[in-house]
Structures are given as structure tokens and as C-alpha cells.
């Protein structure tokens, strides 16, 4: 390009090309950008605005300052939902990751039919949460469910899964782990394959045993993938909705209601859209904080790799 700018005519042409590139670039992103502006950016600001009002489709819409946020502090249901969300995340994310790591470690070898095993574990991920939640409801059925049958077969007592406040959340966690395992495993597998061979070879030559290799090489080098999975896992689990809505509707007696479920319920069942927006804003802030931590970490991590 430097050559082109050295002479008169090509330079002119180069500038013309730059201008068309500029214009084309803008035109190419215009549809997507316009779409985001209308259907994401503006709605986010509107949501913040609504959160300061008592808006309801049935009436109202007065500015009430931060009253929704104050109300949230004393709203027992909000705290229950927050607690449930945390409990759900606390179990779902680490258990999924631990199982996935274990599987990825054993699958990462010369394995006949690797594709089939991988497919078996990944398949739950492609199916809709809603459809699969319906299947699990049937499996968790108190009277005729296959899970209670297995429990009894093992000499344990049958459990009232989705109808008892104690067991409803574990049931949803079990389903979520089942569904999320495959995707997490595939990422661990890919990350393992990104570890250069020479590290293993060098360790071998130095006389390291399997356990040392795992703790000193594999695990530390999987740290970025682990962190990535933890963060995306948390962000996803903080927004859990579909499975809750289908399997328990937040019940029994609010034992499984989550923040995302509360937002939906407040807005579309109790028509308190102002209050629901305030809850949504809080959820967004939490998700935003996790993401920012993630970006910071990933950046510092870039020089490491």
C-alpha cells in the first residue's frame, strides 16, 4: 500500500477505495446495529426508567423514586428467590464442572468410538430445556416415576421430588447437571488438547508419574478453561428460568422460585412491571459484575498463554 500512495494516480484511487470501504462497513453493520439499538439498548434504558415507577399495564406509572429498590430489601420473596438462585448455582455449576472434568480426563485418550460417547453426553444440551424438563417431571413422578423406582431398588426410600420443598430444588439441580455436562465436557476436552505435547514429553523424560503430571501440568493449564466455564456457568445459572417455570412453577411454597422467575411472575402474573424491572436491574448488575471480573482475568491471562 505504501507503494500505491507514492505516486499520484494510484494514491487517489487508494483514497477512493478507503472511502468505499468506510461506507460499505457502515452499511454492512447498519441492520444489526439498528436492531440492537431498538430491541436491546433502548429497552435497557427503558427498564431502568420503569424501575423507578409503579407502572402496571392496568394503570399507574407514577415516578416513585427508589421505592421499588427499598421494597426489595424488605421483600421476603425477593430474598427467598435470591437464596434459591444462589443455592441452585452453588450446586449446579461446581458439580457439572467436576463431573465434566472427570469425563474429559478419561475421554482424552486413544478411544474407540469417542464420537459416540461424546454424543451421548452432549445430546441433552441440544434439546430444549422445556421439552426435557417435561420428561424429567415424568421421571420424578412420585408414584410412577422411574427415579423412585431406582431408589427403592437400591433399598432407599422413595422421595416426593417436585412436590416437597426439600427435594424440589435438588431435583432441578440434578436435571441441570444432566443437561449441562456435555457442553462443559467438550470445552474441557478442547482445552486439554490445547496443552502442548512437549510439556508431557519433557515431564516424562524427567521421570514424572501420572499423578504429578496431572497436578503439575494438566490441571494448572486447564485453569483458563475452568475459569471461563465457572463464569459462564454462573451467568447462566443466575438466569435460570425455563426448567423452574415448567417443573415447579417456583413452588412448592416458593422453594424453587429464582430471581429470573420472580421477575417473570411479578411482571406478567401480578402485573407489577415497575417492581419487576427493579429486580431485573439488580440481576443485570450482578451479571455485569461477574462479566467484568471475567474480562479482566481473561485479559491478564492472554499474556500468560
Amino acid at each position: 500500500m505504501a507503494v500505491a500512495t507514492a505516486k499520484g494516480k494510484p494514491r487517489y484511487r487508494y483514497q477512493g477505495m478507503e472511502r468505499t470501504k468506510q461506507r460499505a462497513g457502515l452499511l454492512f453493520v447498519a441492520p444489526a446495529l439498528l436492531h440492537f439499538l431498538i430491541f436491546t439498548s433502548i429497552p435497557v434504558f427503558v427498564a431502568v426508567g420503569i424501575s423507578f415507577t409503579n407502572y402496571s399495564p392496568l394503570g399507574g406509572g407514577k415516578f416513585i423514586g427508589i421505592q421499588n429498590y427499598i421494597k426489595m430489601i424488605s421483600d421476603e420473596l425477593f430474598w427467598t428467590a435470591l437464596k434459591n438462585t444462589l443455592v441452585y448455582s452453588f450446586w449446579t455449576v461446581p458439580v457439572t464442572m467436576a463431573l465434566a472434568l472427570f469425563l474429559a480426563l478419561i475421554l482424552n485418550r486413544k478411544l474407540r468410538a469417542l464420537a459416540w460417547y461424546r454424543a451421548a453426553f452432549y445430546m441433552p444440551q441440544v434439546t430444549a430445556t422445556v421439552a426435557i424438563a417435561v420428561v424429567w417431571m415424568w421421571m420424578f413422578n412420585n408414584q410412577f416415576g422411574v427415579i423412585n423406582w431406582v431408589l427403592e431398588g437400591m433399598g432407599l426410600k422413595a422421595v416426593e421430588w417436585l412436590t416437597s420443598p426439600t427435594w424440589a430444588m435438588p431435583a432441578i439441580v440434578i436435571m441441570s447437571v444432566w443437561r449441562g455436562l456435555g457442553g462443559t465436557m467438550v470445552i474441557f476436552l478442547a482445552a486439554q488438547q490445547g496443552i502442548p505435547d512437549y510439556l508431557y514429553e519433557a515431564a516424562r523424560i524427567d521421570g514424572a508419574n501420572d499423578r504429578q503430571i496431572f497436578w503439575r501440568i494438566t490441571l494448572p493449564l486447564l485453569a483458563p478453561a475452568t475459569f471461563f466455564l465457572l463464569v459462564t456457568g454462573l451467568i447462566g445459572s443466575f438466569q435460570v428460568f425455563d426448567s423452574i417455570y415448567v417443573m415447579t412453577g417456583g413452588g412448592p411454597s416458593h422453594a424453587t422460585t429464582t430471581i429470573a422467575h420472580q421477575i417473570y411472575e411479578q411482571a406478567f402474573q401480578f402485573t407489577k412491571m415497575g417492581y419487576a424491572s427493579a429486580e431485573a436491574v439488580v440481576l443485570t448488575i450482578v451479571v455485569f459484575i461477574i462479566t467484568v471480573i471475567n474480562m479482566k482475568y481473561v485479559k491478564s491471562d492472554a499474556d500468560y498463554v
Binding site: I38, F39, K110, Y122, V135, M139
Partner: protein
């Protein structure tokens, strides 16, 4: 970007040379296969229930293999609710989402990667921000926007008096049509392509559109395949938005239909499982045939080797 998951030879899993080694190998495969099969139980159970005669559903202990296969359950399930309509709507939604996301996504992703137009940085940040925004926060404003869409669904110029985009194709399809994720992925992909062809075409005087459509996009076929699959999946499986925007059978998607069917009727498990089977089959087929694209996509998401 090679993300194939071909097993990487690691010396510690060299082929067994002793009888004990062979035994361990067999045991390993048995355990792994058992685990993989256990992971398939929900699918097996779903299909088994869908094919059972009514009385066998309510047996305890449950029967895995039905005494006769009642294919009629599928036919009856289709008639028990407006499932054909739900399927049609889901198909339309998934296809439109796929086409829009891939087309506009490729266009914008290409522009962000190659046409460094003025303002591309802040615009790209806006895009990243969209990926962080939880869908719950835009849910209420989007609902209100659709409901008050001027001049639609009986609304006047100011968006009052009618139902706007509620229960319409517009409302179902437009707000979620373009995904930021797809743009992001296309940008990553186009950045990895060599520049020579593009520059040569530009010198030859090809228009920017021709360069994109005729030269760059054909090279992006793997990305197009991967992102089409992901877009189809997210369209077919989407739940929260169709849940709030549709209230009439005429516009409901399959996931909503399943939930409604579960709530409305005195749950007929055989029909419900038959419908669920049909709702999951499209995704499972796409997955089985396009497995490598799924794996490619999921590893592209976070891990770049």
C-alpha cells in the same frame, strides 16, 4: 482453527500389553458405556412412555419395554392439542432466526473484521454489551414496545387501542431476529482468513458487496454451517420470549405448546411424551448429522486452542 477432537496420543494410555492391561481396558469400556447409557435414560424413558398402552404407564415398578408399541399415541397426541400449528410456528421461528442471524451476522461480522470503518470500535463494544445483558431486563420494555407498536394490531399512530405486535409473527420473530453471538463469531472467523483474495478483488475494482458476497462468504462455509446450527437450535428451543408474546394457539411455538398441554389437561403422559419426542427429534437429528459443527462451535465460543 483446528478444533477437531481427534484423540491425542498420550504415552500413558498406550495399548495394553499384558492380560491384566486388557482386563482393565475392558472394565474401563464397560464402565464408560454404562455411564453413557445412564445418561441416555431420560431419552429412552421418553420414547418408551410415548409408545406405551395406557395401563402400562401407571405400573409400578415401571416397565421399560412396552408390551405392544402404540404408535397411535403419536397421532392422538397431535390431535389432542394444536401441535401441528405449534410445529409450524416453531419451524418458521427457527428458520427465520437462522437466516436473519447468519445473513446479518456474517455481514456485520465481516465489516467488523475487515472494513475498519470509523466508529467500529464503540459499535463493537455495544455489541459485546448486548451479549452481557440478561434477557430478563429487556423483557418488560420489549413487551411494552411490541404491545404499543404504532399502526399494528389495531393500534393508532401513538400505539394505543390495539394489541400491536402481540400474537403476531412480527412480535414473535423481529425482536430476537439477530444475535450478537453470531456477529461475534463471524468476526472471529473472518479475521482468520487471508487478505490476498480480498485485496486483489478490490484492486480489480470489485464492489465491496461483491467482495463480501462472492469471495469472502463462500470461504466462510464452515462458520455458516456452525452458526446456522446454533441459530436453529436457539430458535427452536427458545421459550421466555414466545411465552410472553403469544397467548393464542395460532401463534404458539412447540415449547409453549408443551407447557400449555401439560397444564391444561389432566396430564396424559403418553401423549405428552409423544409430543415431547416429536419436539426433540429435529434437534437430535441435526445434532447427529452435524456433530462436528456443534463441537467446533462450542469450542470456538470460549477457547481458542
Amino acid at each position: 482453527m483446528d478444533v477437531s477432537l481427534a484423540p491425542r496420543p498420550v504415552s500413558r494410555v498406550a495399548a495394553p500389553r499384558t492380560a491384566l492391561g486388557t482386563l482393565r481396558q475392558i472394565l474401563f469400556y464397560l464402565l464408560l458405556t454404562a455411564f453413557a447409557l445412564a445418561w441416555m435414560v431420560p431419552f429412552i424413558w421418553m420414547v418408551s412412555t410415548a409408545l406405551k398402552p395406557e395401563p402400562e404407564i401407571y405400573l409400578f415398578p415401571p416397565k421399560l419395554i412396552p408390551s405392544t408399541l402404540v404408535w397411535a399415541n403419536f397421532v392422538k397426541a397431535m390431535k389432542a392439542a394444536a401441535f401441528p400449528i405449534y410445529f409450524r410456528n416453531s419451524l418458521v421461528q427457527a428458520v427465520v432466526h437462522t437466516v436473519a442471524s447468519v445473513f446479518f451476522g456474517a455481514m456485520a461480522g465481516y465489516a467488523f473484521a475487515r472494513l475498519k470503518f470509523r466508529g467500529h470500535k464503540p459499535m463493537f463494544l455495544l455489541l459485546l454489551a448486548k451479549m452481557m445483558v440478561p434477557s430478563q431486563v429487556t423483557l418488560i420494555p420489549l413487551f411494552l414496545l411490541c404491545k404499543n407498536m404504532p399502526l399494528f394490531g389495531g393500534n393508532d399512530m401513538l400505539g394505543h387501542g390495539g394489541t400491536g405486535w402481540l400474537n403476531s409473527w412480527w412480535g414473535l420473530l423481529v425482536p430476537g431476529a439477530i444475535s450478537a453471538y453470531s456477529i461475534f463469531m463471524f468476526r472471529q472467523f473472518f479475521q482468520s482468513l487471508p487478505r490476498e483474495l480480498e485485496e486483489a478483488a478490490r484492486i480489480d475494482g470489485a464492489s465491496e458487496w461483491r467482495i463480501f458476497w462472492g469471495i469472502m462468504l463462500p470461504q466462510a462455509t464452515p462458520a455458516v454451517a456452525t452458526l446456522s446450527i446454533f441459530a436453529f437450535q436457539s430458535g427452536w428451543n427458545s421459550f421466555l420470549w414466545p411465552l410472553v408474546i403469544t397467548t393464542k394457539d395460532q401463534m404458539r411455538t412447540i415449547q409453549i405448546g408443551l407447557t400449555v398441554f401439560r397444564q391444561d389437561f389432566n396430564v396424559q403422559w403418553a401423549y405428552l411424551m409423544a409430543a415431547t419426542t416429536l419436539a426433540t427429534i429435529p434437534m437430535i437429528l441435526i445434532f447427529l448429522f452435524g456433530q462436528r459443527y456443534f463441537v467446533k462451535g462450542i469450542t470456538m465460543t470460549g477457547m481458542k486452542g
